[in-house]
Symmetry: C2
Subunit: 358 residues, 2 copies
Amino acid sequence: MDRKLKVAQYGCGKMSVFLMRYLLEKGADIVAAFDVNPAVIGKDIGEIMGGAHTGVIISDVKDAGDIMAELKPDVCIVATLSTMADIEQAFATCAKNGVNAISTCEEALYPWNSSPAITQKLDQLAKENGVTLAGSGYPDMYWGVLIDTLAGSMHKITKIKGSSSYNVEDYGIALAKGHGAGLSKEEFAQEIGNYNDLSSEEQKRLVESGEYVPSYMWNQNGWLCSKMGLTPISQTQKCVPTTHHSDLRSDTLGMTIKAGEPTGMSAIVTTETAEGITIETECIGKVYGPDDFDKNDWTFYGEPETTINVNRPATVELTCANVVNRIPALVNAQPGYISTDKLPNNVYLVRPINEYIK
Amino acid sequence: MDRKLKVAQYGCGKMSVFLMRYLLEKGADIVAAFDVNPAVIGKDIGEIMGGAHTGVIISDVKDAGDIMAELKPDVCIVATLSTMADIEQAFATCAKNGVNAISTCEEALYPWNSSPAITQKLDQLAKENGVTLAGSGYPDMYWGVLIDTLAGSMHKITKIKGSSSYNVEDYGIALAKGHGAGLSKEEFAQEIGNYNDLSSEEQKRLVESGEYVPSYMWNQNGWLCSKMGLTPISQTQKCVPTTHHSDLRSDTLGMTIKAGEPTGMSAIVTTETAEGITIETECIGKVYGPDDFDKNDWTFYGEPETTINVNRPATVELTCANVVNRIPALVNAQPGYISTDKLPNNVYLVRPINEYIK
Ligand SMILES: NC(=O)c1ccc[n+]([C@@H]2O[C@H](COP(=O)([O-])OP(=O)(O)OC[C@H]3O[C@@H](n4cnc5c(N)ncnc54)[C@H](OP(=O)(O)O)[C@@H]3O)[C@@H](O)[C@H]2O)c1
């Protein structure tokens, strides 16, 4: 592509601050931006980015379809909410107006095993309109491409074990409560751990019907199996409480959690495959103690046992950089919902982003 | 390829023990093996691997050409020594007899910037005979593909800093001395650090003339620039002594190194590129203290700063698995000396190795 890439930003919250700056710094043009929040609609995107005005004003999301039909951006970045049910409408609007789209929505990375109906519908719509839809973010690399790449240095893998942690204090009271922080053990078991002992088939049914929204690792295990050519034969999630050895103050919850009481949860997703490789991944969301920090640790068991650690990853920046760096592959890809396990890996954009587009 | 892959093993020392077992476990056939050592020639390769006899007897290396011409293996693994000068003859023998070859020789990973004449000659020979030659090993992934892959999650890179360490006690007295362990600071400066202050052009001339054999990171920085699309404008190596805070016993050297005296060296290779990215990589070979262990740490500076650690990597097994896993790409590749920066990344071989060959 020998002209500037034209991008639309759908959702102008925290992520968009980085997404839009990264796009501009990689030589793209932002031609439109949309949001639902009245406090944001009408603002110049420069204001959102904390810099000079650009002349691009955030429009009301209800006009997104018409605006994109008129301006024909090459790609739209959807950074609104976290589930496919939340973003289906945004993706559909892009597809119907002939615009490729990629989202920071966590489930969108590999939605086939959690929202198959929505994903197949979007896949069909995308093919009819000749556009590509996908999801990316921090997990795309740090729970996905990184792991598949390193597997290329292993002789024999019997198990892949991943563990990633974050501090619920950073994400507000709703998320903290959603992780069971501050509940008693009994409450935790009833409210959070209630699906733990169901069979793989039962959990699959509950997840795919939308009744049980699984942790992100549920989708990640699907991504890893697809990318590595593995055949899942069972997948289960267990939510277990995390605890702290001493009383722990939570400002977000406005309370002190007693030693040994739930400070949050670890969602452990275990996938068995026909090839004999077990994938056991863990997403820990808890109130951090004084010595805790964000970790991303992965171990390959087999020959040879190999462990990598990514300490204190800058999750927000890495999420946005991964999404922006995915754009060339998205635009170059065949039409449909093409999850990133089917795309070539990201490369660092040394040159302007459009030079990576056929 | 719907038949078993046919492999020849050239050099039957420590690496071959893993290389041959890995080949068999991935469903390849070992059709021939060669060595120069009389104590090894005539042995069954099963003996070398510490298992049952296979019927394949190690031949004298002088017959390697004739045997390969007759048996026509699909690939030969060369695991003998560490420089291009050492393995040029082995690679030439393979090429002349129409056999692809890949080596554990460290310099072979990216020999363009240290032995250009030998490499261009082999490239020509390989093209004339329709074969592919390359080098791989632990650095191919842990100083190369891993770094290029993670760069795909970065927005902006100003510097890539890598550091890898190994214990010279594990590699015998020759290597320990070669790293300056046990020398005085003055001796170290004269014998090891003597090239430190030369310009990039002077060091380049000394390296390419074979007068100065650089550390492996000299080749690695070239690999990284090529793979990431960066243009080197200068490259220098500095060898600085490592020291320990207290007296340190070295069994290999049969002496105690005084606190503050050289226990080995760190070879730091700094490459500046036209794109403004600095690559600074460090290979530390020293006598380990009680708390030291092998590390592989890499940090991207820029946005966002990101660090990855690989503690206690099983270097020997990872070297051999990386070489074996490279074979499909080698056999599928176009003829010539095709260093792995030009090949698709390794994948984990879930299915027999021949199924990955066109
Ligand atoms: N790339 C990496 O990450 C990596 C990692 C580990 C090792 N390596 C390199 O791989 C090479 C092999 O390692 P190793 O531990 O297996 O060494 P090794 O135990 O010394 O084995 C080398 C074998 O090759 C034989 N040999 C030497 N020169 C030969 C020639 N011209 N023709 C035929 N055979 C010859 C040796 O015989 P003699 O014993 O009689 O000399 C020995 O049997 C070394 O250069 C090592 O530095 C690379």
